[in-house]
């Protein structure tokens, strides 16, 4: 296996990733600046400003886990099976775990002043915590099997099982009576009673987190490919060393 396309010999950057990284940085910085300047609301005061990052973080986690599941399905299907899908699934899952953990942390920070507790066993919170646990398990599973084929197969099945929790998380606020407010994505409609500035900044937050995710995925995927290559080359070197040792032993026995 050779170096991933467009990737340099000193790092995982390329012209495309630099451009994407700049767009991600600018959009995230703008989201933070505008989010911290949102006007206080009557019900929640300044706490409502967390709307610019909390729902977008959850969205990015959905996207990451969705892509992990899609890549896993493509690996499992014989006609499309290729190592790149396993690599993509692994890279996306790790980033998804980061976004999911941040969703829980920012949600907890928002919940403390508005609900009075850092944590409650609410349907939305519990199903999100379960999603994080499932994908942490997925990442642990990837470290168990040494054989790449077995590892890819087992983790692909695990990803397809784990991703079933995503719609449960998303619709939990509709299916059960919860403390958590309604779906934030449903607020992004012209009929919404959400203030225009809140809608605009939340929408910008969704774009920013999507760009950040895409940029991280590009680099993490290339790291995954480099790790595979290093693993393969390390094995080749070890085999050569063993062959060399065997040749010396045979030569000694013959003389």
């Amino acid at each position: 296996m050779s170096r991933p396309p467009g990737v340099g010999t000193r790092n995982t950057a390329s012209a495309g990733s630099t451009l994407l990284g700049a767009a991600a940085f600018v959009s995230l910085a703008t989201t933070v600046v505008l989010g911290l300047r949102l006007p206080p609301t009557r019900e929640q005061g300044t706490y409502a400003r967390l709307i610019a990052i909390h729902p977008p973080l959850a969205w990015a986690a959905y996207v990451a886990f969705g892509l992990t599941a899609m890549a896993s399905a493509l690996w499992l299907w014989r006609r499309t099976r290729a190592p790149k899908w396993d690599r993509l699934a692994a890279a996306s899952a790790e980033i998804g775990v980061v976004f999911c953990a941040l969703t829980l942390v920012t949600g907890s920070i928002w919940g403390r002043p508005t609900w009075g507790v850092w944590w409650t066993w609410d349907a939305r919170l519990t199903s999100t915590a379960l999603l994080l646990a499932l994908f942490l398990g997925y990442m642990a599973l990837r470290r168990v099997a040494y054989d790449p084929e077995a590892r890819a197969r087992r983790s692909a099945v695990a990803a397809l099982i784990a991703v079933a929790d995503v719609p449960i998380v998303h619709f939990s606020v509709d299916w059960w009576r919860t403390l958590h407010q309604g779906r934030s994505l449903a607020q992004l409609t012209p009929q919404s009673d959400l203030d225009g500035s809140y809608m605009a900044v939340m929408l910008l937050g969704f774009c920013a987190m999507t760009l950040v995710y895409a940029w991280l995925l590009l680099h993490r995927y290339r790291v995954e490919a480099l790790e595979e290559r290093l693993e393969a080359e390390g094995l080749d070197v070890a085999l050569e060393e063993r062959r060399g040792e065997a040749a010396v032993v045979r030569a000694g026995a013959a003389s």
Binding site: P5, R10, T12, G16, P113
Partner: protein, 63 residues
């Protein structure tokens, strides 16, 4: 106090994403340097005859 919760939320988010990004970039740099260079730095000129050395940045498609 209300500003503290909001700042903590934003600070933890930006800080964590930044730390994770640095970790991924550093890992990529270490791995890239520990492998023999068969492709020049992106944008530094035409690649050698390697068939998969196109500059397309898309993650899928190196097979």
């Amino acid at each position: 106090m209300s500003g503290g919760y909001v700042l903590a939320g934003y600070g933890i988010t930006v800080g964590s994403l930044g730390l994770y990004a640095v970790r991924v970039l550093r890992r990529g740099r270490v791995l890239s340097r520990s492998l023999p260079g068969d492709v020049p730095l992106a944008g530094a000129g035409p690649a050698p005859a390697a068939a998969d050395a196109s500059p397309a940045p898309a993650p899928a498609g190196d097979e």
